[in-house]
């Protein structure tokens, strides 16, 4: 049987790409939230 290795590779590549894409998305949103939190802290500090 001819090698089905390329399909195997494609399958696992797809899985890991999806996982990493989701993790990156999480990280980016965490970063954005932290930035907003900083902005908010500055605003609060200015008010006082």
């Amino acid at each position: 049987m001819e090698s089905t290795f390329s399909y195997l590779f494609a399958g696992y590549a797809a899985i890991w790409i999806l996982f990493f894409a989701y993790l990156l998305r999480l990280r980016r949103r965490e970063k954005d939230l932290r930035q907003e939190l900083e902005l908010l802290r500055d605003q609060v500090a200015k008010k006082q």
């Binding site: 090698s3 399909y7 399958g11 899985i15 999480l26 939230l33 939190l37 008010k47």
Partner: protein
């Protein structure tokens, strides 16, 4: 979750994934009839189980939210729904990749894939309700209703698609599992469960922070 504990957990998740990959690529023998590509099975099936777990969590969290109106349940429902869609997508992508060399085509209206496609659509609709909701007060309630209906529909979807698929061509999907294959599958189940919990926890933290931020912003604007 304290930083130390979460780092420990992340390390555990990482190690379990390494173990799973090791089992899949180094330990388990190649299957006779399907060859190398059959190894996708060891991630394809746990992904499906994870998706189901996620959908179940959405169901329970939705009920709890409607009962208690506590935001923590809504956050859980949203996070679990995202994970359900993610793992469902993995199933729907690895399925055709596996199928192509075996059946000759990328897609066959085969009961499991077809059912997963329908389920996937329902939860994508759930996520869309979240995005297109207009009020932050009502959207969680609407989404919860959807979360309940969608899960109740799961057995109906499977039953009807299986009935229908019997009319079409049916490719048997029962693989006889010898011990090394069973153990590999169990290791992958464990790795996926841990990874699922890891992602869920991070997503929950994110949502909790976002909610706290919104509350703070509102307080500030009220002053």
């Amino acid at each position: 979750m304290s930083a130390r504990l979460s780092n420990l957990f992340a390390a555990l998740v990482f190690l379990s994934m390494i173990a799973a990959l090791g089992a899949v690529f180094l330990y388990v023998p190649t299957e006779r009839t399907m060859g190398l590509v059959q190894r996708i099975f060891y991630f394809h099936v746990p992904a499906a189980i994870s998706a189901f777990l996620a959908f179940f969590i959405v169901f329970v969290a939705s009920i709890q939210y409607l009962r208690t109106q506590e935001m923590k349940w809504d956050r859980l429902a949203l996070s679990a729904a995202e994970l359900g869609v993610l793992f469902g997508l993995i199933v729907l992508i690895t399925g055709p990749i596996w199928a192509r060399p075996i059946w000759g085509v990328y897609w066959r209206w085969e009961p499991r894939l077809t059912s997963m496609l329908i389920l996937f659509s329902m939860y994508v609709a759930y996520l869309m309700v979240r995005s297109y909701g207009t009020s932050s007060a009502r959207t969680p309630r609407l989404a919860s209703v959807l979360g309940i209906l969608a899960f109740v529909n799961v057995p109906l979807v499977y039953y009807s698609v299986n009935l229908w698929a019997a009319e079409q061509q049916l490719h048997p999907q029962k693989i006889a599992l010898e011990p090394p294959m069973k153990y590999t599958l169990y290791i992958c189940y464990a790795a996926f469960l841990l990874f699922f919990l890891f992602l869920l926890q991070r997503r929950l933290e994110l949502e909790k922070t976002a909610d706290a931020l919104t509350d703070l912003q509102q307080q500030l604007s009220d002053d």
